[in-house]
Amino acid sequence: MSERARILLELADDELVVGWRDSEWTGIAPTLEEDVAFSSIAQNEIGHARAAYELAARELGSTADELAFDREPGEYLCTPLVQLRLLDWAHAIARRCLYEQLDQARIETLKASEDEEIAALAAKIDREEAYHRMHAELWAERLRGQPRFEQALEELRPYVDGERNSQAPEFADLWNEMTSVRRSAPGAEW
């Protein structure tokens, strides 16, 4: 796989899986505002994934749907941070904060890429991510110094730089759910 395809897949896999995880709060977030926020963020992240898969698909002779849903669990390149199933609000917010930091550093690098398509996609993504970062900032401000939040940050920080091809145990369940439509109806489109 080319370096370009790998960069695009890492981005797309992170965004797809974090979007999937964030969408797990739809309907059950602690407040209506956060229900709306997590659902919107998830929608954006999955939109970013789709656009990045489409660029990768052209290079790999594949399609966005095949890349998103037809690969084996071990082929995904997402950071372990996004694979974890976090059912506690302090952890969910800690992940949003840590993920946005990781993503911001990557998007800054990609915006400066000499590859015009990648730079343009990164610039488009960055406009939307600015609002995800503000959401994380508001929560970090609100929860700073709170033991549950601080502990969650400590606990999750090592996952940020974790090995991208090592699968957290709960990734298998996520993969099963995420790919169930394509596996039961091969060729179904996004």
């Binding site: 505002e33 659902s39 954006n44 939307e128 900032e137």
Partner: protein, 161 residues
């Protein structure tokens, strides 16, 4: 055979599927029209990448081009060609009149929290700047929710991107 100007005028009749007071041309998401004999190519870009209205917009553009007797070719641009500054002045006024506060003009750097908390956003109903941020996110990815302290009315604020 149609001209590019006729195509632009026809597409200006197509409402945005989520905010139908504004047309796709006023919204600025129709980026380019090229006429080549019977074939009319239109470049469409999403406002936000995850916008679920994109396919509805594509189908509306295709039907309109067919109505004009053209052979449609819609190209989706997922690059960085659209910002909220692409919304036309007429479009912004229509948004405001319908109760959607139009986006503030873009600045050199991305919008920051300090701006969202400032008095830079006016209530579309009473014009007061005494408004506060309720939620960064709203009914669609392109909108936030603010609250007007003067007329005590929540309203939707188009995000600046």
């Amino acid at each position: 055979m149609v001209t590019a100007d006729e195509v632009w005028a026809a597409l200006d009749e197509l409402p945005d599927p989520e905010i139908p007071v504004i047309s796709l041309v006023e919204l600025g998401v129709v980026r380019d029209v090229r006429v080549d004999g019977e074939r009319v190519s239109v470049t469409l870009t999403p406002t936000f990448l995850g916008c679920p209205a994109l396919d509805a917009m594509r189908r509306a553009l295709e039907s309109k081009l067919v109505e004009l007797g053209a052979e449609p070719a819609i190209e989706i641009d997922r690059g960085d060609s659209w910002t909220t500054d692409s919304i036309s002045p007429a479009g912004r006024e229509k948004l405001r009149a319908a109760g959607f506060a139009p986006p503030a003009p873009r600045e050199a750097s991305a919008t920051r929290l300090i701006q969202l908390r400032s008095k830079a956003f006016r209530c579309p109903y009473c014009g007061s700047a005494e408004t506060r941020l309720e939620n960064i996110f709203g009914p669609t990815p392109c909108r936030s929710i603010r609250y007007c302290e003067s007329c005590r009315q929540p309203f939707e604020q188009f995000k600046t991107v």
